[in-house]
C-alpha cells in the first residue's frame, strides 16, 4: 500500500518537473540561438543601439525597448482608471446579483482573440484617431487604447478578488468609527488589498509587453524612438513576429536575441508580481 502511494507521488513529481524542464529547454534554446549575435554586437551595442537594419548588419533594439515601454505605460493609463473603478464598484457597491452577471462579462473580454482587437483597431480606431488627434492612425495612442482594453479583464478580476478577500470586519470597524463608505474604501480596504492589486497590475503589464498580433496591426511598426503619442512604434514582440518568416543567419539570431530581452523582462515582471503577492500574505 505504502509503495503504491510512493509510486503515485513519484509520478506526480515527474509530471510537475516536466513543466520546469520545458521552461528550461525553452530558455536554453533561445539563449543558444540568440547569444552569439549579442556577443558579436556587444550587449550595449545591441540594447542601446538605435539603428535596426539587419540587412546592413545593424542590430540595435533600443527603439523597440522604448516603444514597448511607451505602449505599456499608455495601456496602463487607459486601463487603470477603468479597471480599478470597475473592481471597486463590483466589490463594494454592487449587489451580489449584479456582480454575478458583470464579472463573467468582463472576463469574457479576455477571451476575444487578439486579431479581432487588432482588426477593430484598424477599422474603427484609426479613422477616429486621425480625425480627432491627427497623424495617420497607427501610433502609440491607438495601440495603448486597444492594449488597455485587452488588459482590463486581467487587472479587474485580480483586483476584485483581492478586494473581496479583505475581511468584512475591517469595513465594519471603519464604519463603526464613523468613517464614510468612501473613506472606508480609500483608507482601509484599498491599503489592505494593495499587494493583490499591485500583482494584478504587474500581470497586466506582462500581458501588454507580450501581446503581439494586435500590436502589429495597430502600432505601425516603424523602428523609431517616438516623440509623441501620435508616432508609430515597434515593440519587441512585433519585431520577432514581423521578421521571423524571412530571417536567415545573423538576422535570425538577432530576432532570438530580441526574444532573450523579452524573456528576461517577462521573468522579472513575474518574479516581482509573485514577491509582492507573497508579501501581502505575510502581512
Amino acid at each position: 500500500m505504502k509503495s503504491k502511494e510512493n509510486l503515485i507521488q513519484f509520478g506526480l513529481l515527474l509530471t510537475a518537473l516536466s513543466t520546469i524542464a520545458i521552461l528550461l529547454l525553452i530558455a536554453l534554446f533561445i539563449f543558444q540561438e540568440g547569444l552569439p549575435i549579442i556577443l558579436k554586437v556587444g550587449i550595449s551595442g545591441f540594447i542601446c543601439g538605435s539603428h535596426w537594419s539587419p540587412q546592413q548588419g545593424q542590430f540595435g533594439i533600443f527603439p523597440m525597448i522604448i516603444g514597448t515601454a511607451w505602449i505599456t505605460v499608455g495601456a496602463l493609463l487607459v486601463s487603470l482608471p477603468l479597471s480599478m473603478s470597475c473592481a471597486i464598484y463590483l466589490s463594494e457597491f454592487s449587489t451580489a446579483k449584479v456582480r454575478a452577471i458583470l464579472k463573467p462579462i468582463i472576463e469574457l473580454l479576455a477571451g476575444i482573440p487578439s486579431v479581432v482587437y487588432g482588426f477593430i483597431g484598424m477599422v474603427i480606431l484609426f479613422p477616429m484617431v486621425r480625425n480627432y488627434f491627427g497623424g495617420t492612425g497607427p501610433c502609440v495612442l491607438s495601440a495603448s487604447i486597444i492594449l488597455g482594453i485587452m488588459i482590463l479583464p486581467t487587472i479587474t478580476s485580480i483586483a476584485l478578488d483581492s478586494l473581496r478577500a479583505v475581511p468584512y470586519s475591517f469595513r465594519e470597524g471603519s464604519l463603526a468609527l464613523g468613517a464614510t463608505r468612501w473613506q472606508t474604501i480609500r483608507m482601509v480596504v484599498l491599503p489592505a488589498a494593495k499587494s493583490g492589486i499591485l500583482s494584478g497590475i504587474i500581470l497586466g503589464v506582462g500581458r501588454a509587453v507580450g501581446e503581439t498580433m494586435a500590436v502589429i496591426m495597430i502600432a505601425g511598426n516603424s523602428v523609431i524612438i517616438p516623440n509623441s503619442f501620435l508616432d508609430p512604434v515597434r515593440t519587441l514582440t512585433a519585431n520577432i513576429a514581423l521578421e521571423m518568416n524571412y530571417a536567415i543567419g545573423d538576422h535570425r539570431q538577432a530576432l532570438f536575441a530580441t526574444g532573450i530581452v523579452l524573456f528576461i523582462t517577462i521573468m522579472i515582471l513575474n518574479v516581482v508580481a509573485n514577491t509582492i503577492a507573497r508579501g501581502g500574505v505575510k502581512e
Binding site: 539587419p54 540587412q55 497607427p138 511598426n221 518568416n245 524571412y246 530571417a247 535570425r252
Partner: protein, 271 residues
C-alpha cells in the same frame, strides 16, 4: 525557426512517403514564396489530376524558407520571389517560372494618378512628406496632408524587389509604417486616404488606386509589352538537376498549359 519548419516538413515528407509507398505514388515537396504559393497549389492540383500516381505538397514560409529548405534537401523545389538571389542560394539551379509586377497604390479618393520615379523615391525616403508637394489636395480644413508611407518588413521578397527596382539604393524613411503581408498593406491603403504603399499587381482591386510611374500605368497591356518595368521574377530553385516526376512537374509549369494557369490567375507568364 527554420529547424522547426524543416523538421515539420521532414515529418510531412516521411508521412507522405509512407502513404505514397502504400499507393505506389511519388511525392514532390515544394516550399517558399508566399506570393507564388497559391499559384503553385493550383498548378499542383492540375498536375496531380493528370498524374494520379504523384503527390505534390506545397508549403509557404517565404522566400528564405524556400532557399533554406531546398539547400538542406527537405524539399526538391524551392520558390523565391527576389530580384537578385541572396548568397544563401549559391549553388542552386534557378528557373524563372513567372513574373510579377509591383504596383504603387494609393487610396481611391487620392487625386494623384501619376508620379515620377524621382517623386516615389522622395516619398519613400521621407524627403517629401505632404501630398501638396506632389500636387495633391490639402486636407478638408486646408491643413497639410501628411503622406503615410506603408512598407513591408525587412527581409520580405516584395520589399527587396521594390528596393532594387524602384528605390535603387535610396534609404527607406525610418518613419514608414511597416506591415507584414501584402493584405495588411492593402488594408492600410484602402482605409487611409493619405497612405501610399506597394503591392503585387495580382491583388489590385477597385479598393485601391494603382499609380502610373512616369506616365506609364501598370495595366496588364503595359506590363506585358514590357513598358511598365517594375517587374520581378519568381524563381523555382533546385539542387542540381532534377530527376523523374519533379522534373516533369517543372516542365509542366513551363508548358503552355501551366503558363496559362499562371496568367489566368493574375501573374505574368514567362513564355
Amino acid at each position: 525557426m527554420f529547424k522547426q519548419i524543416a523538421s515539420i516538413l521532414m515529418c510531412a515528407a516521411i508521412i507522405g512517403c509512407a502513404k505514397g509507398n502504400m499507393q505506389q505514388a511519388e511525392t514532390i515537396n515544394i516550399a517558399g514564396s508566399t506570393a507564388f504559393q497559391p499559384f503553385a497549389e493550383k498548378l499542383a492540383e492540375e498536375f496531380m489530376s493528370a498524374h494520379p500516381d504523384v503527390r505534390v505538397n506545397v508549403q509557404g514560409g517565404g522566400s528564405a524558407v524556400g532557399i533554406q529548405s531546398v539547400q538542406s534537401g527537405v524539399v526538391q523545389i524551392g520558390m523565391a520571389d527576389l530580384v537578385t538571389l541572396p548568397k544563401e542560394a549559391e549553388g542552386l539551379n534557378s528557373i524563372v517560372a513567372a513574373k510579377d509586377a509591383i504596383v504603387i497604390a494609393v487610396h481611391p479618393d487620392n487625386k494623384i494618378d501619376n508620379l515620377s520615379l524621382q517623386q516615389i523615391q522622395d516619398v519613400f525616403s521621407g524627403k517629401v512628406n505632404s501630398w501638396e508637394q506632389l500636387g495633391g489636395e490639402k486636407g478638408e480644413k486646408g491643413e497639410k496632408k501628411t503622406i503615410a508611407v506603408v512598407s513591408r518588413e525587412e527581409g520580405s521578397g516584395t520589399r527587396n524587389s521594390f528596393h532594387d527596382l524602384v528605390l535603387k539604393g535610396v534609404q527607406l524613411s525610418p518613419h514608414a509604417l511597416i506591415q507584414n503581408s501584402t493584405g495588411a498593406v492593402k488594408m492600410m491603403i484602402q482605409t487611409d486616404p493619405s497612405a501610399i504603399g506597394y503591392i503585387t499587381h495580382g491583388v489590385v482591386t477597385p479598393d485601391v488606386k494603382a499609380v502610373a510611374i512616369d506616365g506609364i500605368a501598370p495595366s496588364l497591356k503595359n506590363i506585358k509589352a514590357g513598358k511598365y518595368n517594375v517587374v520581378r521574377p519568381i524563381f523555382l530553385l533546385t539542387k542540381g538537376e532534377l530527376q523523374g516526376k519533379a522534373k516533369e512537374f517543372i516542365d509542366f509549369i513551363l508548358s503552355p498549359q501551366g503558363q496559362k494557369t499562371i496568367a489566368d490567375n493574375g501573374l505574368l507568364p514567362v513564355k
